[in-house]
Amino acid sequence: MKKTFTSRCAFSAFLLVMLTGCATVHTASNFDGTKTNGARTPRATISVENYGYYLFGVVPLIAGNPLCPNENICMMFSDTVTLQNNQRMLSDTAHMFNARALANEKTTISWTGSFSFWVIWRKVMHTSAVAVQ
């Protein structure tokens, strides 16, 4: 009885961890009038991240919803962890800050599979840039 309860709790926690916060956008606009390396005024540093879980690193199981970042909404069996989606989230956020250009753009991808003995893989794509006026 106790064992069943514990395993259910562990499974629920695992599901929650898997489903929480797949697509996120973080911004920082506290430049206090400082300039970056260019002549333009920086509006915000934008960090976009999306991750998903893949069977054998190929078949998408759960991935973040790039249309609703920061809302803990995931999509099933759909490969949304793509450069196209990250770039779109980045550009949308830059427009929210009335930016006219992007600078210092960078994208990294990381794959992890050891947590499940390489059956389920986690793909994380991170794109960052500085939105400038």
Binding site: G38, V58, N104, I109
Partner: protein, 151 residues
């Protein structure tokens, strides 16, 4: 698990481990929502992300790496080191030349991780098999003038 299940699974695991070491991912122009890159004269055409990885003995001797040679992208090399910054950058430069764009915002990332160690949990010092990866991200910009040089 009986052999009937185990053998195909190990073959599948090996295939997945070996397949597609080089990957090239691109966006289209619409993803930029008409935002240009700072310091460039022209419109952002596409973002590109290239990565290549391989496995090494003692982090030095290549066992298997992704091939970056023309026409061989997607295949793998045995005992040949293609996980180098010049090799990965060649793919990026070819991409820029083929599309007639300027390559901007080049950002490299190099990482190596111990995959199999003689003494687990002691750190990477006694690592036998290593995983090495190089990533390169960039933004291709369509120049405003025909020469490709800023005016």
């Amino acid at each position: 698990m009986n052999n009937f299940v185990r053998t195909p699974l190990s073959v599948l695991f090996l295939l997945l481990l070996c397949a597609g070491c080089v990957s090239v991912e691109r966006t289209n122009r619409a993803a930029f929502k008409q935002l240009p890159m700072d310091g460039t004269c022209g419109s952002a055409e596409r973002a590109v992300h290239i990565s290549n990885y391989g496995y090494y003995f003692f982090n030095v001797f290549p066992i298997m790496t992704g091939s970056t040679r023309n026409g061989e992208i997607g295949s793998m090399n045995w005992f040949q080191d293609d996980v180098t910054l010049p090799d990965v950058q060649r793919i990026l430069v070819n991409e820029g030349k083929a599309s007639g764009t300027l390559v901007t915002q080049i950002q490299p990332l190099r990482s190596s991780t111990c995959f199999f160690s003689a003494i687990p949990y002691i750190g990477n010092t006694l690592g036998i098999v290593w995983y090495k990866e190089i990533q390169l991200s960039a933004v291709l910009v369509k120049p405003e003038n025909t020469t490709g040089l800023p005016q």
